[in-house]
């Protein structure tokens, strides 16, 4: 299997006079965890709906797993989704509801029950299997909602703000869960918590006003492959340093020294630049690889 897990080209979606997606084009490679970032109203939820096949695009093409527009019958179980702010059916037991969803994905009764137990165990809710959904706390319901997205063996999982409303401890557990899926399937995760996305993602997509404003591998987007940021006790003159560090660009951004290599890796850059800085009299307080996702995102917003 080759080609991206999800590809959208020139997708337009209008709700009456409001344009939610304005010619959106993006690609999510297979086997990555892709963080989708954007302000409220950027079009993340609409993008998930279109990818999941239940929201219709007005224009453009959508390709899910190389099979064109998602068809829940032909592609049953290959894509799963955690929709944003949606309530689960309240009256059925947790295990019963998950087994029902699994059966809709084509599993037999026994297999569906077994898989429901598996995903409940995955989100640490095995002890609440018999409880009705309405009896669960908000956090537990959210975990059940996450669990249903891992029923079966989906190739592409879309998670729209999966940790919304969860306490910090649960957020960490969910993050571990998502990381554990890295080699098994493609995950697209949207969140306003950029630190959380940064911790799990290896590919990012920035959306704004229904368009993709930046996309790529996290290391490329944040400059982690080519850049270090050095915090110094006090600024030092950079003129002399440029001569002893050929192929390296040094710039002072007001707070930190940004050191960028034109070739070679970060380890080589560190090995060359840090001794040169110390030799030039710099007193180093902190060295970070590239920019944070947050600063990269905010920079992209500023244009």
């Amino acid at each position: 299997m080759s080609g991206p897990a999800l590809a959208l080209h020139g997708v337009v979606k209008r709700y009456g006079r409001l344009t939610a997606l304005d010619g959106l084009s993006l690609e999510v490679p297979r086997g990555v965890i892709c963080g989708m970032v954007g302000p409220n109203g950027a079009g993340k939820t609409t993008t998930f709906g279109i990818a999941g096949g239940y929201v219709r695009a007005n224009e453009g093409t959508v390709d899910v797993l190389g099979a064109g527009r998602f068809d829940p019958v032909k592609m049953r179980g290959r894509l799963t989704l955690l929709p944003q702010d949606c309530e689960l059916n309240p009256h059925t037991s947790v295990a019963g509801l998950l087994a029902y969803y699994a059966s809709l994905q084509g599993m037999g009764r026994r297999a569906a029950k077994k898989d429901a137990a598996r995903v409940l165990d995955m989100v640490e809710l095995a002890d609440r299997a018999g409880a009705r959904v309405k009896e669960l706390s908000h956090g537990m319901r959210r975990r059940v909602a996450v669990a249903q997205a891992f029923l079966g063996d989906p190739e592409l999982v879309l998670l729209d703000e999966p940790t919304n409303g969860l306490d910090p401890e649960l957020v960490v557990r969910m993050r571990d869960l998502f990381r554990s899926q890295r080699t098994k399937r493609t995950l697209v995760v949207s969140s306003h918590n950029l630190a959380e996305l940064e911790a799990i993602s290896d590919h990012v997509v920035f959306l704004d006003a229904g368009k993709c404003v930046k996309a790529g591998a996290l290391a490329d987007v944040t400059g982690r492959a080519t850049r270090i940021r050095v915090r110094l006790e006090a600024p030092i003159p950079l003129d002399g340093l440029a001569a002893v560090l050929p192929g390296v660009t040094l710039a002072w951004d007001g707070v930190e020294l940004v050191v960028t290599t034109e070739s070679g890796g970060i380890a080589e850059l560190n090995a060359r630049a840090l001794p040169a800085l110390v030799a030039a009299g710099a007193r180093i307080l902190e060295v970070r690889q590239g920019d944070t996702l947050e600063s990269t995102y905010l920079a992209s917003k500023r244009g």
Binding site: G49, G52, P72, G77, C86, L88, L104
Partner: protein, 301 residues
């Protein structure tokens, strides 16, 4: 997995989810309680009727209600009364073979099932769209299977309600009146329950169709009630004497798209006589549902 299996799974889930919800259960209990109360009132009416008849005829009064009625049902005078009522001697003769309590429950179910389905199923789809729970299903199954599954789940709920009402009616009548044909009554109650379900299906198609169109819970409930009201007023207007005499061709033609235009067919005894009505009512239910689905299929849930 075939589409039929998918639909069956959705219908079964929807039925049990509805039964577990307190609202649907409360409405079914209310319907059963109504059946008990109405049956008890009917028995009381029979008792008063028999007492009066015994007094007029100067004969001894029976110990419990029903004994005299069973005899009366076999008389020529009763046949003529039925014939005058329905305007069809064959139908009148057929009606006389039906136990009175079954006939009464048939009338009761035909009268109240439209209201029951409006309240139990009027927001069945809209509730899932409003809460967003539909989105957990729509990437697993196609929209049509989901919508048809919902319709059949609600149809099953309606059927269970009608049968529960029939059992309650049989139990009440057996306790309060003489009924020497309990099994025959039970068989006829089952038959009328099936016919009431067919009649109710037309209304169910209407309210589920409204629910498929509406964008909010309150909108769905209002649309179902307005739809029920419009069908009720429109159907009765088309069957009124003034309309049928003023528009002798148009009124009966238009009447065929209303459930009331076919309810009399369901009282007929032979399957061949009932078949046109059954087919039309099922078709009407599906037509109302399809009209709603046509809009649901085009919008984003």
């Amino acid at each position: 997995m075939s589409a039929l299996v998918t639909v069956a799974k959705i219908a079964a889930f929807d039925f049990f989810e509805s039964v577990r919800s307190r609202r649907a259960l409360a409405l079914l209990v209310l319907y059963v309680a109504g059946s008990i109360a109405a049956t008890a009132m009917f028995v009381k009416f029979v008792m008063v009727f028999e007492t009066t008849a015994a007094s007029v005829l100067s004969v001894g009064q029976t110990d419990s209600a029903g004994a005299m009625t069973e005899e009366l049902m076999q008389t020529e005078q009763m046949f003529r009364a039925f014939e005058d009522l329905v305007g069809d001697s064959a139908l009148a003769r057929a009606l006389m073979t039906i136990p009175p309590i079954a006939m009464f429950y048939g009338w009761l179910a035909f009268t109240f099932i439209p209201l029951l389905v409006t309240f139990t199923s009027g927001d069945s789809v809209a509730a899932e769209v409003a809460s967003g729970s539909v989105r957990f299903a729509l990437f697993r199954v196609d929209r049509l299977s989901w919508a048809v599954g919902k319709l059949l789940g609600q149809a099953l709920l309606m059927l269970v309600g009608i049968l529960a009402g029939a059992v309650a009616s049989l139990a009440t009548s057996s306790l309060l009146m003489t009924n020497s044909h309990v099994w025959l009554t039970a068989i006829w109650l089952v038959r009328f329950s099936g016919r009431a379900a067919v009649y109710g299906f037309a209304y169910l198609g209407l309210v589920v169709g409204c629910s498929l169109v509406a964008k909010s819970l309150n909108g769905a409930r209002a649309a179902a009630l307005i739809g029920l009201f419009a069908i009720g007023v429109g159907g009765n207007l088309l069957e009124s004497e003034w309309t049928t005499t003023t528009f002798p061709v148009l009124a009966p033609t238009l009447s065929t798209i209303f459930p009331q235009g076919h309810d009399l067919d369901l009282w007929r005894v032979t399957v061949a006589d009932r078949a046109p009505g059954i087919v039309m009512l099922l078709a009407l239910g599906l037509a109302y549902f399809t009209a709603g689905y046509a809009m649901f299929a085009r919008r984003d849930p």
